[in-house]
């Protein structure tokens, strides 16, 4: 079952189109990486899922059902760590956790001991005394303390020091392995997404430009060196859909492939070429390729 399904969702703020027919599906039990540069529409998508804002058009299913206006029931099954929000500074860590549990109609707090072993937050102190990283960790406590089935994280490691960042990512991996919860991990930090996510969607200007299992994306992204039996004829290569080549000599060229790698290699071989070298591309190269608009439509 898909935990999240967004179909052709659009949202505009005045003349700015934040989401443009966005379509994505998040499978149950996955750690889903939602990647994109700042302003791509990641937070807007999350706010729509949480009903903090309303979409202009499109359909949204959560836990296999269409979401209603306020989505109260389904929000009980969601934990959310926002990119930035203020908690109530006059409350202590324990008070905000109990207050949150009350809003979820839960009597017991879950996971706190386990989280405390990892993050050691001074829960008896007022939130106003917490550092930014501690507040971020506290929002993870809040999100996990109600036993969510879906955990939505919006730039969760932003502002965290490397030690806390590593602890957080390790904790999330463990959480998915043990509880089979689904994590929607929105970030622009590629290394983190690559480390923990199994499925990835890349969003650009409000539109998902690729969504696939991370391994498959990486498998399809290669730098290949092709040697032809005759001199390179770019017109001929164009005709079979091979563009953006980097000539090495009159017979040899490099080609970066991002999609349908095996099909393109087959075309090359049919055209009398031979792949003499194949180097997997880094995830950063793949991401940058999708960010450069002119390349998106090719290979």
């Amino acid at each position: 079952m898909n935990i999240i399904e967004l179909n052709n969702v659009s949202k505009s703020f005045g003349t700015v189109r934040a989401l443009n027919d966005l379509t994505l599906t998040v499978p149950e039990g996955s750690i889903f990486g939602f990647l994109g540069p700042n302003g791509a529409g990641k937070t807007t998508t999350i706010k729509i899922l949480l009903r903090l804002i309303k979409e202009d058009s499109g359909t949204i299913n959560l836990f296999g059902e269409k979401i209603d206006i306020e989505n109260k029931i389904k929000r009980k099954r969601i934990g959310f760590v926002p990119e930035e929000f203020s908690l109530y500074n006059y409350m202590t860590g324990w008070e905000i956790l109990r207050f949150n549990a009350g809003l979820f109609e839960k009597k017991n707090l879950i996971k706190i001991d386990e989280l405390q072993d990892t993050f050691h937050l001074p829960l008896r102190e007022k939130i106003s005394t917490y550092s930014r990283g501690m507040k971020k960790a506290l929002s993870l406590y809040i999100a996990l303390s109600t036993g969510p089935e879906l955990l939505i994280l919006d730039e969760p490691t932003d502002g965290l020091d490397p030690v806390v960042r590593k602890r957080l990512l390790d904790f999330l991996i463990k959480e998915v392995a043990e509880k089979n919860i689904t994590i929607f991990f929105s970030s622009h930090i590629l290394s983190e997404v690559e480390k923990i996510c199994d499925t990835v969607a890349i969003i650009k200007r409000g539109k998902v430009i690729i969504q696939e299992e991370l391994d498959k994306i990486k498998e399809n992204a290669n730098l290949i060196t092709v040697r032809l039996s005759s001199k390179i004829d770019t017109g001929k290569l164009d005709a079979i859909g091979i563009t953006n080549i980097s000539k090495i000599d009159e017979f040899t060229f490099d080609l970066k492939l991002f999609k349908n790698s095996s099909a393109i290699v087959k075309k090359i071989e049919n055209a009398g070429g031979e792949v003499v070298r194949k180097i997997p591309l880094s995830f950063e190269d793949i991401f940058m390729h999708f960010m450069e608009e002119k390349n998106v439509a090719t290979h």
């Binding site: 706010k47 903090l52 309303k54 959310f80 109990r98 207050f99 009350g102 809003l103 979820f104």
Partner: protein, 258 residues
């Protein structure tokens, strides 16, 4: 709803204590000090020849009325002290309801919880209204207690009904402030807007048939004081304002994006 109410109680407690103490202090000063001062003036209030004769006559004519305790409470408590503080405090207490959450960005936390927006608004309204009512009712009922020490007998019918007008007026002001708090994300701007509406409606009320547009007119009914009979238009108008502005606040909050 209880966790939300507890949160609102905690959040508004300081403001409530300040308001309550100010109202209580004013009530304490009004009877033992204010009334005693007026009642002990023998004969004419003004004999100063520098004061124009017509004004001297008017002030002197007013003195016997002021010595009449019910008129004194009506004019000085309901018509002045309570009125001024209640307008000011009802705006201050209400203006942070939604604008405060938006301004400090806690709205993203609060409105992403599995709680209906109606419940959130209702819990805020319950707490603000309760605090305002307590801050008005207790000091007002302190007046007859204090007057016993003089001793004086206050007409409780006049006091009860006068209090009813004051409560409705205060809640109407609070409802208008909650509306602006929902509409405008900035607390300062929302405060200015609420004050502006109250100030603008005062001269507008002089237009024929628009008497009840003036919020201040809801607080005190001279007709009731003159006749002793409950005069319903300000009460109905006040309740109408409360219902309208709270409904409008809910409508805006439901559509509001965070």
């Amino acid at each position: 709803m209880w966790p939300l109410i507890k949160k609102e109680l905690k959040e508004n407690l300081t403001k409530f204590i300040i308001m309550f103490l100010v109202m209580l202090g004013t009530a304490f000063f009004l009877i033992p000090y204010g009334y005693n001062m007026v009642s002990q003036i023998p004969g004419e209030l003004f004999n100063n020849p520098a004061v124009p004769g017509w004004l001297r006559n008017q002030l002197n004519a007013m003195l016997p009325n002021l010595k009449y305790i019910d008129f004194f409470i009506f004019s000085q408590w309901f018509g002045k002290n309570l009125l001024q503080f209640a307008i000011f405090f009802s705006i201050i207490m209400s203006i942070g309801t939604i604008a405060g959450e938006t301004e400090r960005k806690s709205s993203i936390f609060l409105f992403s919880r599995p709680v209906k927006r109606k419940t959130i608004l209702l819990s805020k309204v319950i707490v603000v209204f309760s605090f305002l009512i307590i801050s008005i009712v207790i000091p007002t009922y302190l007046l007859p207690v204090l007057s016993n020490s003089i001793p004086l007998n206050i007409n409780m019918h006049l006091l009860n009904i006068g209090l009813l007008y004051a409560v409705i007026g205060t809640l109407a002001t609070a409802a208008i402030s909650i509306f602006f708090s929902t509409l405008i994300n900035d607390r300062l701007k929302a405060t200015f807007a609420a004050f502006a509406v109250i100030i603008i409606t005062i001269p507008m009320a002089s237009i024929k048939g628009m008497h009840w547009i003036n919020i201040v007119n809801l607080y005190v009914s001279t007709k009731f004081f003159q006749t002793g009979m409950i005069y319903f238009p300000p009460l109905i108008c006040g309740i109408g304002i409360i219902i309208f502005f709270l409904a409008a606040s809910y409508y805006i909050l439901k559509k509001k994006e965070f």
